[in-house]
Symmetry: C2
């Protein structure tokens, strides 16, 4: 949650005038997304989201993200659609930053996750994977094994400040994952960050998927591993197998998975737990004093990591 | 700027069902106000602001704030109107906090202050003072001389961390202000925090005044002193006399001021500078690491304070 850049009213008015969406009525910085500055833009024609891409998002990647949203929305996925300006461009510049106006999605993200949310998220995830199958652009996953190693290197010396023994445990984990990481699973474009605050529901029906700014090409089942971690654990750190089953069933209804994908789930979920543990650990150790963003607890993901390490097979997820 | 409380979708839906404003469509935490949690609430009938009153606002004061907004809005002032639920109440409870839904105002606050903004703000301030003249509730100014002394006491020991000599300078300032503070000026309800981010404009016409959460009974001209500090200084710390003149003229057009009020302006502006210096200093020294709110620079107000101390009369403001 963050608004980093304060844009002036003049700048916004000039920016919006390049679009055919009416005149600016109001602009409010909203607490959504941690990588970018997001504003709710009201014009006399409706509501939109104005996004300024901040430093953490590489400028070269923005066309991939906007293109993917456009591609998926055109196939009926409930995701934001980038709005083209009169010159046909969706990616423009505002306050010296890449900027885009995207459509506003109705709904709220679920603070309390229900089983029905999990099964709908699984289904939507599969729909995204299918919709993106013929998306022509590619983006490598910057947060795969080599990225984890880099993060680990820059955290190792201070990791034990967070929990004694953490540096050693993560080092061992990285080695094991590198040795056992599956290589031949079906690949495609994954969302890579489909947490509850990125999925909207209205009356418990999924109404939107947002925040495509980690999307990349990767093993599709890795996205399921991420969702298992993000949706199917209770506050006390225990897996809710009913939710896990609902998630995977929802997914399989729409995209059949191979036996290899199911078999790989524990290691994929373990890798995903390590990925979020490492980025949280990095933010925890490196966030500047007085920063707008409250860093998230890395240890939540240590519990999940240990759980996945302990399971014998995907049957532990209720499958 | 802050959203402190995360309310669940269920809670919000139940809360909104007590009102006759339609069903919840979306809810976004917005970066507005530092004392409360503010959300933009979209229902199928329109946009509203949902405010949760956090600890820094005394629960006993909320009826004063809501009543004042209602009173002023009924007299045509462009300020938010609290919406009554079906039971007639405007003040309710959500997530164990006092909460209210208020009307949404169009417009944006000016990041770059123009002379026309100053004259319109002066006029709106006078309109507020007149509109509130028959408002029956009272609230003491918690940030008058005794409050400043308290803040000073809790900052004195560490004030020199911010600038060497600051503790001594502020101590002397407090003594002088206590000795010379005017006592017999016309009093009434003042806004007490009418900074640019609390005033909206559309096409450079004032469209809204928000954030009444410091309003209190006080010398009316003190509010002018606050606005002089908030609107009429340039980034380099120098007073812009054209803006100051426009502000006071805009005010006088609507509410004639006495000779005593004009004469008192330098000392009132000085007191107001000290007030914001002290609260900023307090926040600077006491804000928790990792807090959502970036503390504002207290020294900006030391410059203003010194300027007002140096002036011989209100003619320094271009009057």
């Amino acid at each position: 949650m963050a608004v980093y850049t304060e844009v002036s009213d003049d700048e916004v008015e000039k920016f919006v005038a390049a679009y055919d969406i009416g005149a600016v009525v109001a602009l409010k910085g909203i607490a959504e997304g941690v990588e970018n500055s997001n504003y709710l833009l009201q014009t006399d024609r409706g509501l939109y989201i104005l996004t300024l891409y901040e430093k953490r998002v590489a400028k070269a990647d923005v066309p991939f993200f906007l293109g993917l949203m456009e591609h998926a929305a055109a196939k009926g996925l409930p995701c934001p659609t980038p709005i083209a300006a009169r010159d046909g461009k969706t990616l423009r510049e505002l306050h010296k930053r890449p900027a885009a106006i995207i459509s506003f999605l109705r709904g709220m993200w679920p603070k309390r996750v229900l089983v029905t949310h999990c099964s709908q998220v699984g289904e939507a995830l599969a729909r995204l994977h299918l919709a993106a199958a013929d998306f022509p652009m590619r983006r490598a996953n910057a947060l795969a094994l080599p990225g984890w190693k880099q993060l680990y290197q820059s955290c190792r010396a201070r990791a034990d400040e967070v929990q004694p023994g953490l540096a050693e445990e993560l080092g061992r984990e990285l080695e094991e994952l590198a040795a056992r990481w599956p290589r031949d699973l079906p690949e495609g474009v994954i969302h890579a960050d489909l947490f509850p605050d990125n999925v909207f529901f209205m009356n418990d029906k999924l109404s939107g998927i947002i925040d495509f700014y980690f999307a990349c090409n990767e093993a599709l089942a890795y996205d399921l591993g991420i969702c298992l971690n993000a949706w199917c654990f209770e506050k006390d750190g225990a897996l809710n197998a009913t939710k896990a089953r609902a998630l995977v069933r929802g997914y399989r209804k729409t995209r059949p998975v191979t036996a290899e994908e199911i078999e790989a789930l524990p290691i994929l979920a373990r890798g995903s737990a390590l990925r979020f543990l490492l980025t949280r650990l990095y933010d925890w150790l490196h966030h500047p004093a007085g920063a707008f963003v409250q860093p998230k607890d890395p240890l939540e993901y240590l519990k999940k990591l240990r759980f996945h390490r302990s399971v014998k097979s995907a049957s532990a997820y209720g499958l």
